[in-house]
Symmetry: C2
Subunit: 297 residues, 2 copies
Amino acid sequence: METLEAYLHQQQQRVEKALDQWLPALDAYPPGLMDAMRYSVFAGGKRLRPTMMLAAAESVGGDSEPVLPAACALECIHTYSMIHDDLPAMDDDDYRRGKPTNHVIYGEAMAILAGDALLTHAFEILSSLQLAEQFSAEVLLQVSRCLSNAAGSTGMIGGQVVDIISEGQQVDLPVVEYIHRHKTAALIEASTTAGGLLGGGNPEEVEALRTFGHQVGWAFQITDDILDVEGNAETLGKAVGRDAELDKATYPAVLGLEASRQRAQELMQQGIEVLSPFGDRAEHLRQIAVYIVSRDI
Amino acid sequence: METLEAYLHQQQQRVEKALDQWLPALDAYPPGLMDAMRYSVFAGGKRLRPTMMLAAAESVGGDSEPVLPAACALECIHTYSMIHDDLPAMDDDDYRRGKPTNHVIYGEAMAILAGDALLTHAFEILSSLQLAEQFSAEVLLQVSRCLSNAAGSTGMIGGQVVDIISEGQQVDLPVVEYIHRHKTAALIEASTTAGGLLGGGNPEEVEALRTFGHQVGWAFQITDDILDVEGNAETLGKAVGRDAELDKATYPAVLGLEASRQRAQELMQQGIEVLSPFGDRAEHLRQIAVYIVSRDI
């Protein structure tokens, strides 16, 4: 098997090629909007969520090629959430992945609309005629349900709301856990769940992939919080210490760094355990899980 | 037949009851978000778009009762677009329908997130298990395609972008028409198209309902522009003269009031003509079309 690094790079390129095909063309009308949408989608990123969707489809014996458009839909949702999170009224971040954020380049109005357009585009992709040729309407509807629930008011947006209203508040572990499980884990859980559905997994397999995605997604956010404390701004391509600056509810702030590291490891192990019935086909998912808690970027 | 006024009032109440059922409960977690979502959804409004969806379903001989959730999804999209349009970075409006706008009450961050949540919720409704019990997955996927395309970068958001970048510019008729057809007509067209699909209309009927919705939706925006010039602020529940203040690209600004009125009438007539094969079943749609260009609110 190739190294994980080579695999991730290969999948990243595959996803980016698909994104280029599945986003509105740069010269489409109206001017500015398509630029703004594409700017943030192509502002870098490891494409971990789409890669996990593809790997999940393969883990149940499916072909990942027809899953690419749905992986792009997921990346559209992820990108929209970052554009809106970075807005002055929200986290007010000027840089992400070493580049100016969307509103810094295109202005607030366009950044809001580009985010709205990316979120909508996800559902345009999932309901497109091209996908309907590859998958049954039932499966596509299940995937739409999975992604919209993960992204909605009781999913990612719910987590973001609690994140924002908890700034500067004395919060306890359950609140931090709510934030992590909703703001971040929900969408990663949706990646692996949708991958399982589109790969043709049976209900038990899809359920295992859901649990895996949730635990690993949670571990991902804890690791993000840790990196915000002890990461390298240059490597990360964004300011560190922003959580402390905004007095955010984080794992390290509540539990300390060492306990946070242990918690991320535990969650990662729990995720890997549920994949034992999958055998070798889930090897990429396992490697990604290990990578997620050990990364420095 | 009851008067149009009584019919519209009855449908408005029916839609509002359904919205109450289909929106997240007010006491759901997280606090604030559900309030903010519900505040704007229940801040009044004639519910014309959902009513047109229900009337379109009936015009092809369908039962409108099972169409109510999809009508709520459409109203969620419409409401989200108003919340985001009113933001300080966009049109910066403090009042709508006589009430303070979302960000005035809940702050900008929550208003952005409540809008995002309502847009997402529309697709949660359309892919929900409850709807899947009433309609085939194929039809629901078609409706999802119809609504997402109408709301997306080449639909409503595209129109909104051109509206914003045209402020203070010298614009010609094609630009104003692009704005109207995308910012407003697209979603009204989606209402009648989706109603036709969910009501079980054949492709010709659905196509006729699409044309009807587009022409009448366009006439709706021209009428809105006219009301912004000569309407009564108290009756409208919002400031008038805002278009001129923001130097917006409008029909009256380009063509003058009289020619604008004529254009709205023509479009309304064109819409009504395509409904002739529908006979009496389309009577409500015809009445709504006439109402749209003659309203003073």
